[in-house]
C-alpha cells in the first residue's frame, strides 16, 4: 500500500450494507502487478461480496476501486471486464444450451478483437484448462470438474489482466484440485494477476504470494501466507481449530 502507483488494483475503504446488515466494514485491498493473492476467512466474512464489488457485479455502499490507476468505481461489470477484471463464480454458471467452445467464444469475442484472434484465444484457453477434447459438447452435459474448468476457461477467454477466482477448488478431489493449481500456475507465468478465494488452504498456499484473511467484514491479517495462517487473530477466526483442517 505504500506505493499505490505500482498497484494493479486498489480498493479503498469499501463498505457494503444490505439494509441493517453490514457485510463489509471498511476493507482496504490491493493487488500488485503479477501478484497472486489468496483470501481466506470463515463463512459470512464477506469474501465473495468483496469479489463482487471488485468485479462490478455489485455496487459498494461506499469506497473506491481503481484498476491500472484508473477509477473504475462507477463502471459496471461489463466495462470492467473489458478493462481486464474478470471473475469466476463459486457455483459454475455455464451457458448450458451452448457448446463448451461457444461458451468461451462468447467471452473471447465481446467486440474487442477479430474473429480469428478470438478463435485462437478460445483454443488456447481450452487447451490450458484441459478441455480441448470436450470443446463441442453442450455445457449442460458437463460434470462438476469440467464445469469448474469451463468457468476458468471462459474467464481466460475474456483476456484478463486480473482474474478473480471464487472457490474454484471447492468440491474437487485432491487430484482434480492439483490440476487446477497447475493451470493457475501457468496463468501466473503469463503474468496474469490472480485473486483467489478458497477454503482449501493447502491448495491456496501452493500458488499465492500473499494471503489475506477476512472476518466479519474486515481484513484481520494480510501478508506472507504462512505468517498469516499462524496469526493468532486468524486462528481465533477459525474458532481456535487447526486452521489447516478447519476448511
Amino acid at each position: 500500500m505504500s506505493h499505490p502507483t505500482t498497484m494493479l488494483l486498489t480498493a479503498r475503504d469499501i463498505h457494503k450494507r444490505f439494509g441493517a446488515l453490514v457485510v463489509l466494514e471498511g476493507v482496504d485491498f490491493s493487488v500488485a502487478h503479477d501478484e497472486a493473492v489468496g483470501i481466506v476467512g470463515p463463512n459470512g466474512a464477506g469474501k465473495t461480496t468483496l469479489l463482487s464489488i471488485l468485479s462490478g457485479a455489485q455496487p459498494s455502499s461506499s469506497g473506491a476501486v481503481a484498476y491500472r490507476e484508473r477509477d473504475v468505481t462507477t463502471l459496471d461489470s461489463a466495462a470492467r471486464c473489458r478493462l481486464g477484471i474478470v471473475r469466476t463464480h463459486q457455483i459454475p454458471r455455464p451457458f448450458g444450451g451452448m457448446t463448451v467452445f461457444e461458451n468461451v467464444f462468447v467471452a473471447a469475442a465481446n467486440g474487442r478483437c477479430k474473429r480469428a484472434e478470438a478463435y485462437d484465444r478460445v483454443v488456447d484457453a481450452l487447451a490450458l484448462c484441459g478441455m480441448s477434447e470436450v470443446a463441442n459438447r453442450r455445457a449442460e452435459t458437463l460434470g462438476l470438474l469440467d464445469r469448474k474448468r469451463l468457468e476458468l476457461a471462459r474467464a481466460l477467454g475474456a483476456d484478463p489482466g486480473l482474474l478473480l477466482l471464487d472457490e474454484i477448488g471447492g468440491g474437487l478431489t485432491d487430484a482434480e484440485a492439483s490440476e487446477l493449481v497447475e493451470a493457475i500456475q501457468e496463468l501466473r507465468r503469463r503474468r496474469i494477476a490472480v485473486v483467489w478465494i478458497e477454503h482449501i488452504v493447502h491448495i491456496l498456499l501452493q500458488v499465492v504470494d500473499r494471503l489475506v484473511c477476512m472476518d466479519a467484514g474486515r481484513v484481520i491479517a494480510d501478508g506472507e501466507p504462512r505468517a498469516v495462517m499462524a496469526d493468532p487473530a486468524v486462528v481465533e477466526a477459525y474458532l481456535g481449530g487447526d486452521v489447516h483442517g478447519a476448511a
Binding site: 457485479a57 461489463a78 471486464c81 454458471r93 451457458f95 448450458g96 467486440g111 475474456a158
Partner: protein, 298 residues
C-alpha cells in the same frame, strides 16, 4: 389431385404463417418475452408502407428500404423504453405491457385511418394474383412462393446468425444468463436491444407480405398474432426451424379443413393447435425423451 393441391397450397400458406411467427419465436427464444403487440406491429409496418405508397407513390417493395430500418429503430426504442423496464419486474409484466402497446397501436391506427380495409396489392402490379400451372389441377401463386422462400431464408438466416456469428452467440448467451454475460464484458442491455431491432425487421417483412397478399385494417393485428402464436407453439416455442414446421402444419391443417367443409378452414387449424398442445402436455407429464424431441429442443 384436389387433395394434393390442397396440401401444396397449405404448405405455401404455412410459409406465410412461419414468416409472421418468425419475430415472435425469435423474441421468445432470445429474451423470453411474449410480445402480444406482434400482430399490431406488423399492421403498423403495413400502414407505413401504405402511407408511402398512397401519399408519395413509393412502391411497397421500395418502401421496405425505409420501413425496415424504421422498424429496427422502433424496436430499439421499445426495448429501451418499455420492454427492458417491464422485464425487470418479472415475466408477466412484459406480457401486459405489450398487450397495452397493442391496444395503443390499434387505436392510433384507427384514429388515423378509420375502419376501412386497405391492401398493398394495387401497388405491386399483378404480383398478388400472378400464378403458374404445375399441372391441370395444381397452380402455384407467385406471391405465395416468394413468401415461402422468404420465410425459409429469414428463418434459416436467423438460425445461422444465432449459431455462427459472434453477435448471435452473444445473443444466445444473454438469453441464458444476462448477469453472467455482464461479467464477460458483454452489455446485456445493448445485446437485447439489437435482438429486438432484428425481431422488428422480421415483423416489418411480415407486415409487407400480409398487406400484399390480402387486406388489412387497424384491428387486424390480433388475427395475425393468433396465427403467429399457433405456428410458434406447434413448432416448439423458441425453435426457429420448428416455427417453419409449425407454420406448415397449421397451413396444411387449415387448407385440408377448408376442403372438408367450407367453414372448416379456421376450425381445423385451431383443433390441430389444441391437439398438439394436449399431446405435448400429456408427454410432458410422462417425461422422457419424446417430450424433449416434440418440445422443440433448440
Amino acid at each position: 389431385m384436389t387433395w394434393i393441391n390442397q396440401i401444396i397450397q397449405g404448405v405455401l400458406l404455412g410459409g406465410y404463417y412461419a414468416l409472421i411467427a418468425c419475430g415472435l419465436s425469435f423474441l421468445f427464444s432470445v429474451m423470453r418475452i411474449i410480445n402480444l403487440a406482434h400482430g399490431s406491429l406488423a399492421v403498423l409496418a403495413a400502414y407505413a408502407l401504405f402511407w408511402l405508397a398512397d401519399r408519395f407513390g413509393v412502391s411497397p417493395i421500395l418502401g421496405l428500404v425505409a420501413v425496415l430500418p424504421a422498424m429496427a429503430i422502433l424496436g430499439w426504442l421499445l426495448q429501451k423504453t418499455i420492454l427492458e423496464r417491464s422485464a425487470r419486474s418479472g415475466r408477466l409484466v412484459p406480457v401486459l405491457s405489450t398487450f397495452g402497446l397493442a391496444i395503443v397501436i390499434d387505436n392510433l391506427l384507427f384514429q388515423a385511418y378509420g375502419a376501412d380495409t386497405r391492401s398493398l396489392a394495387p401497388f405491386v402490379g399483378s404480383l398478388s394474383y400472378d400464378s403458374f400451372d404445375l399441372s391441370d389441377d395444381v397452380s402455384l401463386g407467385t406471391l405465395a412462393l416468394i413468401t415461402f422462400v422468404t420465410a425459409v431464408a429469414m428463418l434459416g438466416g436467423l438460425q445461422l446468425f444465432l449459431t455462427r456469428t459472434p453477435l448471435g452467440r452473444a445473443i444466445r448467451a444473454t438469453a441464458e444468463d444476462p448477469d453472467t454475460v455482464g461479467l464477460l464484458g458483454i452489455n446485456a442491455g445493448r445485446v437485447n436491444a439489437v435482438a429486438m431491432s432484428i425481431a422488428m425487421v422480421t415483423v416489418g417483412v411480415a407486415g409487407f407480405f400480409m398487406a400484399v397478399r390480402a387486406t388489412f385494417a387497424p384491428y387486424a393485428g390480433a388475427a395475425q398474432l393468433l396465427f403467429a402464436f399457433e405456428s410458434a407453439v406447434i413448432g416448439g416455442v423458441g425453435s426457429l426451424w420448428g416455427t417453419l414446421i409449425g407454420g406448415i402444419v397449421l397451413g396444411v391443417a387449415q387448407s385440408l379443413g377448408a376442403q372438408l367443409h367450407p367453414q372448416g378452414f379456421l376450425i381445423a387449424g385451431h383443433l390441430t393447435f389444441l391437439a398438439v398442445v394436449l399431446a405435448r402436455l400429456t408427454l410432458a407429464a410422462r417425461g422422457g425423451r419424446l417430450r424433449a424431441w416434440i418440445g422443440g429442443a433448440r
